[in-house]
Structure formats: C-alpha cells, structure tokens
Symmetry: C2
Subunit: 147 residues, 2 copies
DNA sequence: CGTGAAAAGGATCGGCC
DNA sequence: GGCCGATCCTTTTCACG
C-alpha cells in the first residue's frame, strides 16, 4: 500500500513541501513524472491529507501553550461536546482519552489571562466536572513523523 | 509586524499551501506579485517556519497515540535529556512543563506493544522517577492556528 | 509502473508608480 | 508597499515501453 519509495517521499515532503518533483525524483531514483504520479496517488488515497505551512506560534500571538485534562460526570464523546469545544477559540486540539480524565485538549493563547478565560469557557461546557492544567514552559522539540 | 493581510495569508496557506499566488492575491485583494512578496517576507522573518505535508498517522503505522507525563527526581530541562528523548523513536514531541510532572511527551506508535516498549525506553532515561500515560482513543479535531 | 517530452500555468524578477 | 509585464521553471498531461 505504501512502499519504501512512498515513505521516502513522505519524509522529504514533510521536511520541505516546496521542492520540485525533479529534485524529489532524483532523491528517490525516479523521474520527475513518476515522483509526481506517486505523490498524487498518496494525496488521492488520503495518506497525504494536505499541504500546509508551519507558523511560529509566538509570532501570531499564541505564545502560551497548555494541555488541559478534562474530567467529566457523563459521557462527553458525542458531537455536541465536540462542537462546544470547537467553538472555544483557545482550543487547538481535542482528544477523547482513556484514564482518569475523559478528554485532553491543547490550548494556545497570547497570555496567561487568556488561558484563564479559556479554562472558564471549558468549565462552562456541559458535563465538565473538573480540569487539570499542564502549562508548557518550553518545547524541547517537535519531530516530523517517520513513516 | 504581522498585519491583517499577513494574517489572512497565513490562514489561507495553512488550509492549502498549494494554491497559486494569483488565487491567494485575489482572496486578500492583492496582485499575485505582492502576495508573493508578502509570503516571502513571512518566510524570511521566520513567521512561516516551513511548508509541509500532513500525513495520516494510521496510514504509516502510527495509529496509536498517547501523551506521557514524566516525573523527575532532578532537573531534566537540559540538552542531555533532550537528546535522550530525541533518540526514542516513538516520541514525537517533548515539552518542559509546570506542575506535578516535569516533562510531557507525545508518543505515536503502530501498536500498544510498541507503546509499552517506548515507555520502557522513557524509564531508562536518566532522572525519570515515574510516568503517567494518557492514551488517545479518538481525536475529536485538530484546528489550524487562527492568527 | 516507469519514461520522456510538449503544452499550460505559475513563480520570480526588474522597472516603475 | 504595490503593480505590471517578461522570462524561466514546474507542474501536468499524454503517448509509449
């Protein structure tokens, strides 16, 4: 389904999605046309979800990062909960998790005041009985995925 | 430093970094050339860190996702710790955090057995006195950052 | 699946407002 | 800063192995 050449292409594109198919092809021992065909198929199959840019959070007023574990008194894995969390601007990711907490969300804000406001919003969501916040002081690293 | 037009460009590029500067320019009311100049400057200033692809984790054998809170008996915010964590294949992100735990890492593996192996590797790192693992059952959503 | 080459469309640069 | 226009390069497609 995804062979070694595909994996190599994925790694290269994760590093830099602006390089030409010519360059890409040379790196994996293929012609530009073939490299292109491979990548198109990866896109069509959904292996490549999209091409994006990585933005420096601090440069756009999102310098504060925290993970919030959310405890619930009821099942919160349904669309209404999802929509309520989606509507909170400070929340960037939301996951249903196993363990003492029901949900884990990643929050990014400009200031700690905004973080506080976001926590208030989280508490206002139906079913939330408690939160535990882990504030990120520094990000050590973020590796691209190795396929 | 980053005005409204820049912010609009960042949002558009996060959604789809493959669109032409012509399209981009029309969306923000600029010519293709000017849109291009804006984006280049955003790159040069480091606001745009890089252009990447988003890969479906399940498609490349990374279907299992977990967050691990790491407790330490000593300060673990120095390069040696960083390097030790970098060397662990299953770890995708590592953050220094405030709270009961010292570090928070994001782990992605193909299977729960591999997750277990990764936890073993984490315990082998100098200074680690305990871990608390939060397994992700389902990802609700991952929003692009709104500048 | 791969290749090579032609056609179409963008990226990029310089001169100018 | 932004616009326009002219190259140059890439993406994209196609007939063929």
């Amino acid at each position: 389904m995804v062979d070694d050449v595909d994996r190599a292409l994925l790694v290269l594109l994760q590093q830099d999605a602006t390089q030409s198919y010519e360059t890409l092809g040379q790196a994996v021992g293929l012609s530009a046309g073939s490299a292109h065909a491979r990548v198109r198929k990866l896109r069509d199959r959904g292996v490549i979800r999209r091409t994006t840019i990585e933005v420096d959070p601090a440069a756009i007023g999102r310098g504060v990062c925290a993970y919030v574990l959310i405890k619930a008194g009821e099942w919160m894995g349904d669309p209404p909960t999802r929509d309520a969390l989606l509507a909170i601007a400070g929340i960037q990711e939301a996951h249903i998790v196993a363990g003492a907490a029901s949900l884990l969300v990643k929050v990014r804000t400009a200031t700690t005041e905004e973080l506080q406001a976001t926590l208030r919003e989280i508490f206002a969501v139906e079913g939330v009985t408690g939160t535990e916040t882990v504030v990120v002081l520094e990000t050590f690293f973020e590796k691209p995925v190795r396929p």
